[in-house]
Symmetry: C2
Amino acid sequence: MIQGHQSWIFQSKPIILGCSAVGGPFEAKGALAGEFDLLHEDIWLGQDSFEKAEKKLLEEACNLAIKNSKVKKDDINFFLSGDLMNQITSSSFSARSLKIPYLGIFGACSSSMEGLALASFIVDSGGANYVLCGTSSHNAASEKQFRYPTEYGGQKPPTSQWTVTGAGAAVIGKGYDRPKVTSATIGKVMDMGISDPFNMGAAMAPAAVDTIEAHFRDLHRDPSYYDVIATGDLGRIGHNIAKKMLKDDGFEFPQGVFTDCGILIYKKDQPVFSGGSGCACSATVTYGHFLKEMKRKKIKKMLIVATGALMSPMSYQQKESIPCVAHGVSIEA
Amino acid sequence: MIQGHQSWIFQSKPIILGCSAVGGPFEAKGALAGEFDLLHEDIWLGQDSFEKAEKKLLEEACNLAIKNSKVKKDDINFFLSGDLMNQITSSSFSARSLKIPYLGIFGACSSSMEGLALASFIVDSGGANYVLCGTSSHNAASEKQFRYPTEYGGQKPPTSQWTVTGAGAAVIGKGYDRPKVTSATIGKVMDMGISDPFNMGAAMAPAAVDTIEAHFRDLHRDPSYYDVIATGDLGRIGHNIAKKMLKDDGFEFPQGVFTDCGILIYKKDQPVFSGGSGCACSATVTYGHFLKEMKRKKIKKMLIVATGALMSPMSYQQKESIPCVAHGVSIEA
C-alpha cells in the first residue's frame, strides 16, 4: 500500500523465492566472479549477433531463477522485464520462449528495481501467486546501439562506464525463510542539464539522491536503518557526487554503508573507467552478491537504488540533456 | 486480485476520473474527428523534430487528462507511460516535465492497455490515490524509426497500416459516477512466424485471440457479456483473421460487438491501407470515442484489447519473426 507520496510498504512481505545472476567473460574476471550462478567465456554465447547473445543471457537467468525458486514455470502468473535494447527486444523475445504472461517495462538501468518493485507490489496485493522479474545488458550490444561498435576501438574519457554483460532474475512469491521485499520507492525523473553520454554517473546522481531522500521521507527512516544502501551504476564519479549531495542535505552514512554496484562488480585493475553500468549491473550484484551476503548473515537490511539514464541516441543528436530516474527497493533478512 | 491465471478483477472498481485524446491533421480528417479533445493542423506541432512533436502530443494529453479529472497534479502518485520511440523517449521526457514519479512501460501498441491495467491495479490495491497513464505515437516519427522516412515517399503494400499521430491519457482514482475499470487480462507473447513488418495486423491477430480467450476463461464470461469488444490496431486484415480464429474456437459475436480501433478511426476514403495503428490508435479511440459513447449511454460494458508487435528494426534485419502481445481491459458504466 501507498506510504507517503511515492513509496509502497509491502505488508504481506513478499519473498524472493529464487534468483540468479549470469555474467560474461569480463565479469568472470571481476571482483564478484564467485557470486555468479553462471559465467560465459564467450561474449557471443555461441550466437550470431550480440543482441541474440543478450537474449540468451536473459533466458538463462530467468530459467535459473525459476529452477532456484522450485516454482513450476506454469504456475508463474506474470513475467516483468525490461532492458536497454531498442523496443526491449531481449525481454520480449525471452517472454516469447518463456510463455508467461508478459508486462514489458523500461527504466533503462533502473529496470532491475522497477521490475522488482512492481513484481513485489503485485504479489503483495494478491495480484499474483508468483511473478518473475528480470533484466539484462550486453556490453557490445549496448555500445553498438548507444555509442560506437566495440570493433571500432574508439577511445573513451575517464568519466565513461563499462556496460555489464549479464542478466539477473528473481521469482517473487509469498512464504518465509527467504529474503523479504519490504518496501519500494518509485523515482521522479531528474535532469540537471548534463548532456554528455560519456558521463552517465554524473547525470544520474541527482535522481539517486532524490529517490533516497524520498524513501527516507516517505518511510520515516534515516541512513542508520540500513546495513547497505547501494546505488545501481553511478560508478566512482557519480557515486561521489551523490554522496556529496546527500551530505549537503544532511544525510551521512556510517562507514561502508553507502556503496554502488558499478564500483563493486569489477576489480580495480580492470579498464572500466568510472565503473560498471547497464541493467545487469545492479541486477547481478543484487541477485548474485548482496543476497548471498544476506544468506551469509553479513547484511540484514539493504536498500538497492537502481539508476537509469532515459535518453536515446536520437535525443542526444537533437541536443537534449539526459533525463534520469532511480527506483529504490528494500530487502530484509 | 488475481482471477484465473492471468487476469485481475478490480474489486474496489477504480474509475476513470478524467481522460483525453489528442490528434494530428490526418486524424482531424478522420471518422472520429469530433471525439478528440484537441486536434493539430501541423504535423510538427511547431517543433523542430517529429520526436519532439510526439513528446508534445503526450504532454498535452496528460495535462488535459489531469485538467478533466479535476485532480491536482501534485496529488498524482505515479505516471505510467510507454510509446514506440527507442528508449520510450516521448514518455520519459514527458515524465521530466510532469514531475510525477514515473514507471516506464513498453508493450509497443499494447502500451495503452498495459498502462491502464497497471494503473487500475495499483489504485485498486491501495498502492496510489491517483495514477496517470498515457501513451503516444506519431506517424512520421514511427515511419522514420521503423521503416523509411515519410519524405522518401516509399510505396506500401495493402497489408500495411497507418500509424496514428496522437496521444491519449487517463487519470485513475477511486470514486463513483464515472466509468469503472472492472478487470484486466495480461497477454502472453504469441508468434506464429510472420516476419513481414508491413503486415502487423496478421502478426498480432493470434495475440489478440489468445488474450480474448484467456479473458473469457479467467472471468467465466463469453462474448454476450460485452456491448463492444475492440482490438487495438489489427486493421481490416488482422481483424478478419482474429474474427475467423475466434469463430473456429467457438466464439461468435452479436452484430456490431467485435470491432477494431484501427478500422474505426479513419474514413474509408483515407489512404490508410488496412487501417490505423500505433500506441495512440487504441488510446485515442478508447479515451476519445468509446468513453464518450458510454457517456451517451450507447455502450455499457466494453473490453479493449490493445495489440502490440514487439519486434525492432534490428530483430527484423536479423531475420527474426514478430513476437506480439495483447492486453485486455474491461470498462463498465
